[in-house]
Symmetry: C2
Subunit: 194 residues, 2 copies
DNA sequence: GCCAATCGATCAACTAGTAGAATGGCTCAT
DNA sequence: ATGAGCCATTCTACTAGTTGATCGATTGGC
């Protein structure tokens, strides 16, 4: 299940992730990646035979790291659901503020879903399902501890919160105001609190 | 301010809007549009000298129609803020369900903001500002009539609701489930109600 | 006879991907 | 230990197709 990557392949995947976050699937070329990494275009094809292979690997890595990161949060803050949600959104707030990742690549690719290779769209769907499941579990847990008093049931609240987070990334980009993200998601979490 | 378009230019802009909604700025070409409309590629350049001109016109039209549509809602349902919000999200729910527009093109272009011509990004920003302003006014109005009891102030609630709506479009696409949109946005509006 | 609209032909630049040849580190039998 | 062979990695050069855009000619309505 876990994808094993050579150092060079890892470097390529990491730079591809940045390009993907900036412009989406059709927003970057092998030439762009070639220039960023300082390697011949043909060499990229040795590590990733096709562009679909490359992007699929990037999405798989992002999904896997996400699952691991969320699990780590649950382990560290297992008894405090509200702190878990805050840690989740603060992670993205930090990424957006420091510019290391101004957008989740799966939100990016979700927008392009009708036009990208189906196997990539399937992996993006998996990411959304993973995230929804985690959020629903945390919200349900917080409900049991009377930390949250959600208006709807946990799965729906999870979908709504996830949508708000991804939408806030769009809003921050559209307005050219990175701080807007934090303003929006903080309000969304605060609204859940009892 | 209002853009005057010939019938053919209107037809081109309309088909371009659909292609834009499906794949974004880099997700369609003049050849695609040429085939859809049944016109030579060179003829498109007669109506819209460059791709940036074409897309800018499409976005300007979308923004203008949006402003007019929202104003019409306010006129019809001026005394019922909650009905206004419902009408707004129901409009999109209908578009997504019948497939006539499965995504707001400004949400699409917001994701690509770092990579598209600046004048288009500026127009997208204008759309987001218009929408935020309208939502804030409606929420503020509903607050005055005790229909809503927002947790945050109206401008922040407006940003959050807009983000949820756009994020719900992403979620529906990622999951391949058009109904998810309505589920999410209905919950978001219900949460505002007193 | 003017002028908007359309066309086919063509452009240079870019796209993902391929072919074939170097490079150099690794193992392994001698 | 040494040389032979293997294999991953990289390169230059190239392909065939697509991109947005231009040119000049043709059409047809006013």
């Amino acid at each position: 299940m876990t994808v094993e990557l050579s150092p060079r392949a890892t470097e390529l995947a990491e730079h591809a992730r940045q390009l993907l976050a900036a412009g989406g699937y059709n927003g970057f070329s092998y030439a762009d990646l070639s220039e960023k990494v300082g390697i011949g275009k043909a060499s990229i094809h040795h590590h990733f035979p096709s562009k679909a292979d490359l992007v699929l690997t990037v999405v798989q890595r992002h999904r896997q790291q996400s699952v691991e990161g969320l699990a780590a949060m649950q382990q560290h803050l297992g008894d405090d659901p509200q702190a878990q949600l805050s840690a989740y959104v603060d992670y993205w707030a930090r990424c957006i503020r420091d510019g290391s990742s101004t957008m989740c690549i799966c939100a990016m690719l979700a927008a392009e879903a009708p036009m990208i290779p189906p196997e990539i769209a399937a992996e993006v769907r998996g990411y959304f399902q993973d995230l929804t499941q985690w959020l629903a579990a945390v919200i349900s847990q917080g409900q049991a501890k009377a930390q949250f008093k959600p208006e709807a049931n946990a799965p729906v609240e999870a979908l709504a919160l996830m949508s708000t987070v991804h939408g806030a990334m769009l809003t921050a980009r559209a307005l050219g105001d990175p701080d807007a993200f934090q303003t929006i998601v903080r309000a969304a979490i605060h609204r859940l609190a009892a």
